[in-house]
C-alpha cells in the first residue's frame, strides 16, 4: 500500500483504461446484418434529409407565394408597366384609347377577364391573352385579324365609315392600318350589314371568297391590283350556280364560280395575254363560270372609240401560247 503521493503525470503514460482502446464505429461492416443496418441507417438519414428539404421547400414556396399575394393585395401595389405585343398593326396608343388602363392604377383594380373581353369585342383582335405579372406589370398579347375586303357603310347623319371584312367574315372598323394597304383592298358589294351589339353580324360563307382573293393576290398580283369591287349578290357559298362577280378596272365585269378559282384565273390570264388585248375592241366582261370555257364580252366600239354592238362568243380555252378565238 503506497504511503506517498505519486506523480500522476509520470504514471499516466504507462497505465491504460479500456476506454483508451481505439473504437471506430465507422469501420467497414463485418457482417451482412451490419451492412444491412448501415444501409438502413443511411437510407433513414437520406430520407430525413429529403423530407426536411421538401418541408423547407414547401415553407419557402408558401412564404414566397404569400409575399406575392400580399404584394398584390396591398394598396401600395400599383401598375408600373403595360407590355403590349401584337402580330399586326395595333400599337400602345390604340391600347390606351381602347382600354381604361393607365400606369399608376391599383393592380387589384384590374380585371383581366374584362380586359380580354373588351379587346376581343373590338373585332380587329382575334385572340387576346392578358396576364398580371406581379407585382407591377400587365402583359397583353394579341393576334389580329387581317382584312380582305372593305366596304363603305352609312352610320347615320349622312356619315359614311369604312368597314373591313376579315377572312372569317368578321366586320370591324380597322385601326392603324397603313392607308395604302386599305386602298389596295377591293370593295365588297351585295352584303347587308346588320348590327349586333356594338358591332356587326359576320358575313357567312366567306371562306371561298377569302381563298379566291388570297390566291389571286399571291399568284396573279396584277389581276388583283385591277379588281375594284367584289360583288356577292349572286354568291351562295359553294352551292351550284353560285357566282362571284368582280368589277375590274380594265376587264370590266368578271364572273367566277367560287370553286376551282386558280383554273379560272389561269384561263383569264390566257385570254388577256394572248387574245383579248390584241382585239381592237374593249373588253367589258369575261364569264369564267362555264367549265373549260370563257365568254369574253366586248364593247361595241373599238378601243380607239368605234362603237360596234357588244357581242359575246364562247371561247375555247387554249394554252397560254395559243391565240384566243373571238368572233365579232
Amino acid at each position: 500500500m503506497p504511503e506517498e503521493t505519486k506523480d500522476p503525470a509520470e504514471s499516466r503514460q504507462t497505465r491504460r483504461e479500456w476506454s483508451d482502446i481505439q473504437q471506430d464505429d465507422t469501420r467497414r461492416s463485418t457482417t451482412e446484418v451490419a451492412r444491412r443496418r448501415k444501409w438502413s441507417r443511411i437510407g433513414r438519414i437520406v430520407s430525413l434529409c429529403l423530407l426536411a428539404l421538401v418541408i423547407c421547400g414547401a415553407l419557402i414556396f408558401a412564404y414566397v407565394s404569400a409575399s406575392r399575394n400580399d404584394a398584390a393585395l396591398e394598396p401600395s401595389a400599383f401598375l408600373e408597366k403595360v407590355t403590349f405585343r401584337t402580330d399586326g398593326v395595333l400599337n400602345d396608343r390604340w391600347l390606351a384609347r381602347a382600354l381604361d388602363i393607365r400606369e399608376g392604377m391599383a393592380m387589384n383594380a384590374i380585371d383581366i377577364a374584362s380586359v380580354r373581353r373588351k379587346l376581343e369585342a373590338s373585332g380587329q383582335i382575334r385572340t387576346a391573352a392578358v396576364t398580371l405579372r406581379l407585382p407591377r406589370e400587365l402583359v397583353i398579347e394579341v393576334r389580329e385579324r387581317m382584312p380582305i375586303l372593305r366596304a363603305q357603310a352609312e352610320v347615320g347623319q349622312g356619315k359614311v365609315r369604312t368597314l373591313l371584312i376579315s377572312s372569317d367574315g368578321t366586320i370591324f372598323e380597322g385601326s392603324d392600318y397603313p392607308v395604302n394597304s386599305i386602298r389596295a383592298l377591293p370593295y365588297v358589294d351585295g352584303v347587308v350589314f346588320r348590327r349586333r351589339g356594338e358591332g356587326y353580324e359576320p358575313v357567312q360563307n366567306i371562306g371561298p371568297i377569302a381563298d379566291m382573293l388570297s390566291t389571286t393576290r399571291t399568284n396573279w398580283p396584277k389581276l388583283y391590283a385591277d379588281w375594284q369591287v367584289v360583288s356577292l349578290k349572286r354568291y351562295r357559298g359553294l352551292e351550284q350556280g353560285s357566282i362571284v362577280e368582280v368589277k375590274s378596272k380594265t376587264l370590266g365585269r368578271l364572273q367566277f364560280t367560287p370553286d376551282n378559282v386558280d383554273n379560272q384565273l389561269r384561263r383569264l390570264f390566257g385570254i388577256i395575254t394572248n387574245g383579248a388585248t390584241r382585239d381592237p375592241r374593249k373588253v367589258v366582261g369575261v364569264n369564267l363560270t362555264i367549265p373549260g370555257q370563257a365568254i369574253v364580252e366586248y364593247s361595241a366600239t373599238e378601243k380607239s372609240g368605234a362603237q360596234p354592238a357588244p357581242q359575246a362568243k364562247p371561247a375555247t380555252p387554249k394554252p397560254a401560247s395559243s391565240k384566243p378565238q373571238a368572233t365579232r
Partner: protein
C-alpha cells in the same frame, strides 16, 4: 439528455448472446423496450476464438432486439468475462490539504487518483475500478468530506484484463456501427441484480455460473471486496458427461438438463435412465448414479476453486448472508447444497429482480444482461445528467444572451 436515448446491453456469453434494448428518458429513468437471445458461436470460456462467428451471432441478436423494440440503438453497454480478468486491491493516500484539517472534495479526488496510479504489465488494461470505502486517520468512514483529520485513504478493487481480448469484444460491437459506452465485468453486473443493498452491506458472495465460466463477486460493507472468474461452467459438466458416459455432446446436454443434479443420491444407485428415451438405435440405459457422480464432481470442484481463491474471506462471520447463485447452471437441482457444503455458508438461488416485469427476463440466465443495463446506466447517469444540464444551460444562456 433532454431527449430519449436508446442503449443496448449486450452480453456475449459462451452459450448465448443476450441483448436488451432500453430507452433512457430524461437521463433519469430506464425502460426496457426490446430483447433478443441468440445462440453464441465462436466463444469459449468467455473468450472470443472466432471473431467472424461471434460477429455473426451478435449482430443478428442486436438486429433482432432492435426489431422487437422498433428503435435503433445509439450506443452499447458491454459485459465482459473470461479467465483473462484479474483483480487486485490497492489504496490511495493523501494528506488533508486545508489548514483546518477539514477534508474536502479535492482531497478525496487526489486520494482516488493515487489509488488508480499503479502501472500494469505490458498487454494488460484496466477494466474497472471499484471503490471499497475510506479511512480517515486509520478509522473506517463512509464519507470523510467535512470531517477533520490528517490523512485520507481510499481502497480500490481494480479489475484488469488482456488488452487484445478486450479489444476483440469492442470490435465485435464496432462492426455493426455501434460505440461501446460502458464496459462492465459480468460478475459485478450479475451481483448488482442478484443481491440487494442490505445483503451487500452484511456480506454476500454472488456466483454467476454460466456455460463457460463462473464469475463471482464478494461484497462486504456495501462494497466489492473481491471478484474473480473461474473457467468452469455448465459446458464442462456437459463435456464430462459426454466423456464419462461415452455419448456425444448433444445427448450429454440433454441428459444433464433432464436428469442432472449436483448431489449424489444413494436412492439412485439402482436406477437407470434412457440416453435418448425413444428406444431408437443408440438409445441405451445409463446408471443414474453415474450421472450424479460426474455432475457432483464438477460442481464440487467449481466451488472448491472459488473457496481456494477467496481463502479465509468466505466464512460465516464475513459472509453472513451466504452465497447467492445465479446464471443458467444455477438451475441445476441441489447445487445450493453443494455450495453450502463446500463453502461453509448458506446458499440460495437469486431472486428475480422486482423491477423487471417481463417473465422472460426474470430468469437466472438474464441476470448478467439486466445487471449490465442497471450498472451501465448507473455509471453513465452522471454524464447523461451533465449533458442534460448543459443543454438547459445553453438554452438559458441563449435566452439571456450570454
Amino acid at each position: 439528455m433532454g431527449q430519449d436515448r436508446i442503449v443496448g446491453a449486450i452480453e456475449i456469453g459462451t452459450s448465448k448472446v443476450t441483448v436488451l434494448v432500453a430507452e433512457i428518458v430524461g437521463g433519469r429513468s430506464l425502460n426496457i423496450i426490446g430483447t433478443s437471445r441468440a445462440t453464441s458461436e465462436g466463444v469459449r470460456k468467455g473468450q472470443i476464438v472466432s471473431l467472424r462467428e461471434v460477429s455473426d451471432c451478435t449482430h443478428a441478436a442486436i438486429a433482432a432486439a432492435e426489431k422487437t423494440s422498433g428503435a435503433q440503438i445509439d450506443s452499447a453497454y458491454l459485459a465482459i468475462s473470461g479467465a483473462h480478468l484479474q483483480g487486485f486491491a490497492d489504496s490511495g493516500v493523501t494528506t488533508v490539504s486545508s489548514s483546518s484539517g477539514v477534508v474536502t472534495e479535492g482531497d478525496i479526488r487526489r486520494a482516488r487518483e493515487n489509488a488508480k496510479m499503479r502501472n500494469l504489465p505490458q498487454g494488460r488494461i484496466y477494466i474497472h475500478h471499484e471503490c471499497c470505502g475510506f479511512q480517515l486517520d486509520g478509522r473506517r468512514v463512509a464519507d470523510p468530506v467535512g470531517m477533520q483529520g490528517e490523512k485520507v485513504e481510499t481502497g480500490y478493487w481494480h479489475i484488469h484484463g488482456d488488452e487484445r481480448i478486450t479489444a476483440d469484444h469492442l470490435h465485435v460491437i464496432n462492426g455493426i456501427g455501434l460505440n461501446v459506452e460502458c464496459v462492465v465485468v459480468s460478475a459485478i453486473a450479475s451481483a448488482s441484480v442478484a443481491a440487494n443493498d442490505d445483503e451487500k452491506k452484511n456480506g454476500v458472495l454472488v456466483i454467476d455460473i454460466g456455460a463457460g465460466t463462473a464469475d463471482y463477486a464478494l461484497y462486504r460493507m456495501g462494497t466489492i471486496v473481491r471478484t474473480g472468474v473461474v473457467p468452469i461452467g455448465g459446458d464442462h459438466i456437459t463435456n464430462d458427461l459426454a466423456i464419462g458416459l461415452r455419448m456425444n455432446v448433444r445427448y450429454a446436454e440433454s441428459v444433464k438438463l433432464r436428469f442432472g443434479k449436483a448431489v449424489v443420491d444413494p436412492s439412485d444407485k439402482s436406477d437407470t435412465v434412457m440416453l435418448i428415451g425413444d428406444l431408437t438405435i443408440g438409445d441405451r440405459p445409463i446408471p443414474r448414479i453415474a450421472i450424479d457422480k460426474i455432475v457432483h464432481s464438477r460442481v464440487e470442484e467449481l466451488f472448491m476453486i472459488v473457496k481456494n481463491q477467496l481463502g479465509s474471506e468466505v466464512n460465516p462471520q464475513n459472509v453472513p448472508v451466504g452465497v447467492i447463485l445465479t446464471g443458467g447452471t444455477a438451475r441445476l437441482p441441489h447445487i445450493c447444497d453443494v455450495a453450502q457444503e463446500v463453502l461453509g455458508v448458506p446458499a440460495r438461488i437469486a431472486d428475480s429482480p422486482t423491477w423487471v416485469s417481463d417473465p422472460d427476463l426474470r430468469i437466472p440466465e438474464c441476470s448478467t444482461a439486466l445487471g449490465l443495463l442497471s450498472e451501465g446506466f448507473a455509471t453513465r447517469m452522471g454524464s447523461y445528467r451533465e449533458e442534460t444540464s448543459k443543454k438547459w444551460y445553453n438554452k438559458l444562456a441563449g435566452i439571456f444572451g450570454k
